[in-house]
């Protein structure tokens, strides 16, 4: 640096910029912004941030994009919807309901469907997107579960994701309650019964929620505020936190050549990921729009306005609430009456089991972490077969969900398959306890079988389909050695050893106290990693022994 220029720069005020002249007006604009928002430092780390690629990573993206679609269409709908239960008489273009009394909420939903151009489409997109939203969250969650992506450092993000699913389901329920049609009114009635079943405070909860007796005139406006403001607000916060954590942790990746726990291999954010992910948003939006053009969902005009003494057939909630519906349908109607009080077990028990089914899965990362005692970070995904017990637990949970779904749709199944509704219910009552256990054992065995096959492949190579005749007449199939990258992939997973209880007596011969917790943990650990619950992976020695010289079969 020449002395002249240094004098010049010294002469500037100390807060001034020492930056080179921008090359064009875009750079100038960027410089201006950077001076206020510090965008360069932000972009430095992120512009070429690496994203690994795998089709299953899309599932979370679908959830994100449908959430955005729901917000966009939801805002549009609020411009036309009147969340009021005041009575009006309908005189709109839909003739079958002409002259019928209904709430303003229902009437304005009719207007949106029949008088606002494009209103029906937006309603349909809103509803379809909600269905896809919950479905994709569920499947996304399964992906994360079955690959072990929830392990440290991502446990908290798992919980955020779980909360999003939980809130998403509830907001969906509130949403389809708003139009005040016959079907949604039935759903609200169901909710009233559930609240009344809560001992001690149930009746107070009911009066306060409904502003008096069922149905009253408060419930729709109240649900409206909760549906469009409270829950989406909380969800938005959770979603941002979820994404920040995804960004911060960086994506997980599958084991493979060049992929380690210390790196992440993939394509940079700009341009490839930006184009793919940005493009994918439009793909999803386009699909949902097309779906809404061809397939009708929630045709409220066919149900009619709500009346507490009427009911439509197919009184069904949306499928994602189906498992709670299943719970309420299969529970026997036990009622305990004593000391002038009634405990409605037939409703209260399902009401309690419902969150349990969900929370069990929310707590799983912490349970597994406790069992393995593993305090390290994990970024390489597990192939589901390599964690047989976890995979079996997940499969059992999914089967429980499905069996409850059958319970929830027993009337549809009965009419479509010509079965007795009572038989289906009895089947589900037993299946609730039996099927998950069956599924657990089947899945575990299946995983172990797949593990064995992997081991076989690693040690003996892959079958080529070529039969060779040996000089002494024997026929053998030629096996081809796996290439190194495959060998690596099949052996990259970790295997834990089961935890053993400390010796009964310590070195001084004094009897050790072993707590129940420790004992449980040792038992669980044996259940996960003990003999027969995982196949020991091939060792380098085994491989060398077999491949050195003779063993090509």
């Amino acid at each position: 640096m020449s002395s002249a220029s240094s004098v010049k720069s010294d002469a500037r005020p100390s807060t001034g910029s020492t930056r080179d002249k921008p090359a064009n007006k875009w750079e100038a604009a960027a410089d201006w912004t950077d001076g206020r928002l510090g965008i360069y430092s932000l972009a430095k780390a992120n512009l070429r941030k690496i994203f690994p690629d795998h089709w299953s990573f899309m599932l979370g993206e679908i959830a994100l994009y449908t959430f955005i679609i729901i917000i966009l269409t939801g805002v549009y709908l609020t411009l036309f919807f009147k969340p009021s239960m005041a009575e009006v008489v309908y005189h709109g273009p839909y003739a079958p309901l002409d002259g019928i009394k209904m709430s303003e909420a229902y009437a304005s939903t009719m207007d949106i469907s029949f008088e606002v151009r494009g209103g029906l489409l937006i309603r349909q997109i809103h509803h379809w997107a909600a269905i896809v939203f919950v479905a994709s969250m569920l499947v996304h969650m399964m992906r994360v579960f079955f690959t072990g992506a929830f392990r440290k450092p991502r446990e908290i993000n798992w919980v955020f994701g779980f909360l999003l699913l939980f809130l998403g389901m509830f907001d969906g329920f509130m949403g389809y309650s708003l139009p005040d049609d016959l079907l949604s009114g039935t759903g609200i009635r169901f909710m009233e019964g559930a609240i009344l079943a809560v001992p001690l405070v149930g009746t107070y909860g009911q009066m306060f929620l409904f502003g008096g007796e069922f149905p009253g005139t408060d419930i729709v406006p109240r649900f409206f505020t909760i549906h469009v403001l409270l829950i989406p607000g909380v969800m938005l916060g959770l979603l941002v936190a979820h994404l920040i954590l995804v960004f911060y942790h960086k994506h997980t990746q599958w084991a493979g050549p060049g992929k380690t726990e210390q790196n992440v291999v993939g394509m940079p954010l700009m341009p490839v990921y930006m184009a793919k992910a940005g493009g994918f948003f439009f793909l999803v939006f386009g699909m949902v729009a097309a779906m809404s053009a061809v397939a009708t969902v929630n045709p409220i005009w066919a149900y009619g306005p709500y009346r507490p003494d009427q009911v439509s057939t197919d009184a069904q909630p949306d499928w994602y609430m189906g498992f709670s519906e299943g719970l309420i349908r299969i529970m026997p109607g036990w009622e305990i009456r004593a000391w002038g009080h009634t405990l409605n077990m037939g409703v209260f028990v399902p009401l309690m089991v419902f969150p349990l089914v969900l929370f069990a899965i929310a707590a799983y990362p912490f349970i597994e972490g406790w069992i393995t005692g593993d305090k390290r970070e994990h970024h390489i995904l597990d192939r589901p077969r390599n964690a047989p017990v976890r995979t079996a637990v997940g499969a059992a949970w999914v089967s429980e969900y499905l069996i409850l779904l059958i319970g929830g749709g027993n009337d549809l199944i009965a009419t479509h398959l010509h079965l007795s509704i009572n038989d289906i219910t009895y089947f589900v009552r037993v299946g609730f306890f039996v099927i998950p256990v069956l599924v657990f054992f089947i899945t575990k065995r299946w995983c172990l079988g797949l593990q064995r096959r992997d081991k076989e492949k690693v040690l003996h190579g892959r079958e080529t389909g070529i039969i060779k005749r040996l000089p002494h007449g024997e026929f053998v199939e030629v096996h081809a050695q796996l290439p190194q990258d495959k060998l690596h992939k099949y052996t990259a997973h970790e295997q834990y050893e089961p935890m053993e209880l400390p010796a009964e007596v310590d070195e001084n011969g004094v009897k050790r106290k072993v707590g129940v917790l420790t004992k449980t943990r040792a038992k669980l650990s044996r259940g996960y990693f003990g003999e027969g619950n995982q196949i020991p992976k091939p060792t380098a020695e085994e491989h060398r022994e077999i491949t050195s010289g003779h063993g090509h079969h």
């Binding site: 169901f190 911060y248 790196n263």
Partner: protein, 351 residues
């Protein structure tokens, strides 16, 4: 778990440092980049470029189509489209054009990324989330200094009262919710029929005809719905009242009625049950003449109307409440009192 029980720290996945010969399972490192067709063949690249642009052009056309449909199709035009059936032409056209417009942008972008943007996989390093010990100790030190300066640990009285006040203050929020609704009191125990007395009975009104009913109008095996006289659809609280008052009338041959008490509450084999399911409150609407079973469509609770509406299947916990009926001097069916117990879903205070 003791450290030595854990798998060796990410053994196989650190293959870079291990010579491939010593470990057959070692990580061979990132595979070499394989060029795509569009990387080496300029003609293929040009074609891909045209395909991408074509999709964007289709999107533009579709958006124009969307606007055109909005203007062209009247909102009440219904068309038949195979295999969907009768649909609103406007909804169909708007949805499809919007779908295509959005989808093509997405497809174009993805196609562009896949064929023309670089597909070199790059590794990026990860850094442990945990801070190193120096940072950790430093922060803990700073925190301790701050805590010591506040005197939070030393002045126990301040600390405890602070915790106490913080724990109580949210209660104000809960108390403020009190006026969301009235107290339950005995509201759930009674229905609109409670004003009926033997001296001052309330006539039963047919739900369909809106007329009072004569006993002989009700034939054996039929199911009729009724409401109390004076409850009109135009009433402000009609919804709230019909949610409790709705009646279901059946006529069963007297010799078929199994429950004596139930027969006495009825009149000449006509029994008046609450229409509201005792499970969670759906209206019951399905009746099976031969068996006298009424089925709730919501969760399939099944009640035997010939046997005091006893629950014979499903999740309902107790029978349907019954209303005492008789006829007045002109032969019209009337109620002389309220239901024998609260109607609808059960609740804690219900005895």
């Amino acid at each position: 778990m003791p450290e030595e029980k854990l798998p060796e720290a990410h053994d196989a996945s650190q293959g870079h440092e291990v010579a491939p010969h010593s470990d057959p399972f070692a990580d061979p490192g990132l595979p070499a980049h394989e060029p795509r067709r569009t990387d080496i063949d300029e003609r293929a690249a040009k074609r891909a470029e045209r395909q991408v642009s074509l999709m964007f052009v289709v999107s533009m056309l579709a958006t124009i189509g969307f606007i055109a449909s909005y203007v062209i199709f009247p909102i009440d035009k219904i068309v038949f489209i195979f295999p969907i059936g009768h649909v609103s032409a406007l909804n169909f056209a708007l949805g499809l054009t919007l779908g295509v417009a959005l989808f093509c942008i997405g497809a174009g972008a993805v196609h562009w990324a896949r064929t023309l943007m670089s597909d070199h996989e790059l590794p990026a390093e990860r850094h442990p989330i945990e801070a190193d010990d120096e940072v950790r100790n430093d922060v803990i030190e700073q925190f301790k200094t701050g805590a010591a300066e506040s005197g939070f640990g030393r002045r126990k009285m301040i600390r405890n009262t602070l915790i106490g006040s913080m724990a109580l203050v949210p209660l104000s929020g809960v108390v403020l919710l009190r006026d969301l609704g009235p107290l339950p009191e005995k509201k759930l125990d009674h229905t609109g029929w409670q004003k009926a007395t033997p001296a001052n009975p309330i006539p039963l009104i047919n739900m369909n005809t809106n007329e009072p009913m004569k006993a002989e109008d009700i034939v054996i095996g039929s199911l009729t719905f009724a409401k109390p006289e004076g409850l009109e659809e135009s009433d402000e609280d009609f919804q709230q009242n019909i949610a409790k008052d709705a009646l279901m009338l059946v006529r069963i041959a007297p010799e078929d009625i199994k429950d004596k008490n139930s027969a006495e509450l009825g009149f000449g084999g006509i029994l008046a049950y609450s229409k509201i399911c005792t499970h969670v409150g759906c209206p019951i609407s399905l009746y099976e003449q031969q068996t006298h079973h009424a089925l709730c469509p919501c969760h399939q609770s099944t009640f035997d109307l010939a046997d005091g509406a006893r629950v014979i299947f499903g999740p309902a916990g107790h029978p349907l409440p019954q209303l005492k009926i008789t006829i007045d001097e002109k032969g019209f069916l009337v109620a002389t009192g309220d239901f024998d117990e609260p109607v609808g879903p059960s609740f804690w205070e219900r005895s």
